[in-house]
Symmetry: none
Subunit: 122 residues, 4 copies
């Protein structure tokens, strides 16, 4: 479920964070289900437990998971998270559109590739 790409320039803990975000937002990991323990995931991925720990701390900070003393880490409700994520995506889209405009791209040119990605009949 989690795959580390060592050729990826991003730090390992960040890759883990992003992967869990994705799994949670897409509901693959359902609310209140338990995440693998730090130690077991560290074993599975042949990674330093500190690195997993760091990823979990970050996920908790962002509200993706919550931890229960002595029991483990669990997935949070994701409704708000999905909304937040969508906002982030739209913010990025606006920024990108701004840059595109500044470099003289036509609106049509820019939107064309997006429509293609979504599929003509959306």
């Amino acid at each position: 479920m989690i795959v580390i790409d060592y050729r990826d320039r991003r730090p390992i803990y960040e890759q883990i964070v992003e992967r869990f975000q994705e799994l949670i937002l897409k509901n693959v990991l359902e609310p209140d289900s338990q995440l693998p323990s730090v130690r077991s995931l560290a074993m599975d991925l042949s990674i330093n437990p500190n690195t997993i720990q760091r990823a979990y701390v970050e996920l908790e900070r962002q509200g993706y998971i919550y931890s229960v003393q002595g029991k483990g880490s669990f997935v949070s409700e994701n409704e708000r998270l999905v909304l937040k994520k969508k906002e982030e995506i739209l913010d990025e889209a606006v920024k990108l559109a701004k840059v595109a405009r500044e470099f003289g791209m036509k609106k049509e040119e820019f939107i064309r590739v997006i429509i293609d990605e979504f599929g003509e009949v959306s």
Copy 2:
């Protein structure tokens, strides 16, 4: 013309690279015009010359500038660079659209914010 943001998480040399890219792509710095010398820019920005040097090396590697032994650094022709930059922007747009689609966003919702950015009548 160049401003360093120390709160920015990106390294200084990278901020300098991006700023010059922008100035060159937008033709503020015209082809064959001379850049400030490594030393003078270092003085201006109160930054170590090595850091400026690193930025210039990177800009040369990317084709934005060329340096002449004992004379200085000069702006390259930017036609190709602009095209390349536009392609990069479109690539990013496609990636972003893909992510948006994966998180269940509607095409209209996504495109709306872009059209707003470009201005309704484009």
Copy 3:
């Protein structure tokens, strides 16, 4: 494995880059095997770590190695690199042949020394 020639006019970092290219292309250093750390190689060669770092950055840029945050530098797959290198060699051969022709050398004269190098029965 790495030897610096101080009489060589090329900069130290470039000698290091070329030597590693050779070791990687010839499979002496196998894919995913770890390179010596910046610090340890600097110690071994009695060279400043910055110089080694510069060589590693260049090797990464050219695709010969990849570095992992906090873990070290590792050898990339070399298949593509070997093909690219062969192309470069052939390009050089063509250029040289062109110069030879321009200076009035006979094809036979030029090819003779090459056949000798490869060995008569190839």
Copy 4:
């Protein structure tokens, strides 16, 4: 006759040296004919006279030209020079062939591109 390419990474004086070598070896500049004066060539090329001076010194050192006090610089006999140049080219060819062999290239593969360059019927 002399063109400086500022985008060329080689120093200006070196470009001048190489260009004169070529003109002399190809007999465009005939033995005992006079070279432009340092000052006039500097004017023509909009270059610092020191740079031209340096190129001429280097050409004299290599035997391509000789200077007469108060008269100027003149082209040397080029017979020996042509032979020497040819030897240099052959040396380079041998080196290149050696590298090609070390990287596992077949003799035929290497010679093919050379024959193509010379033209099938040589």
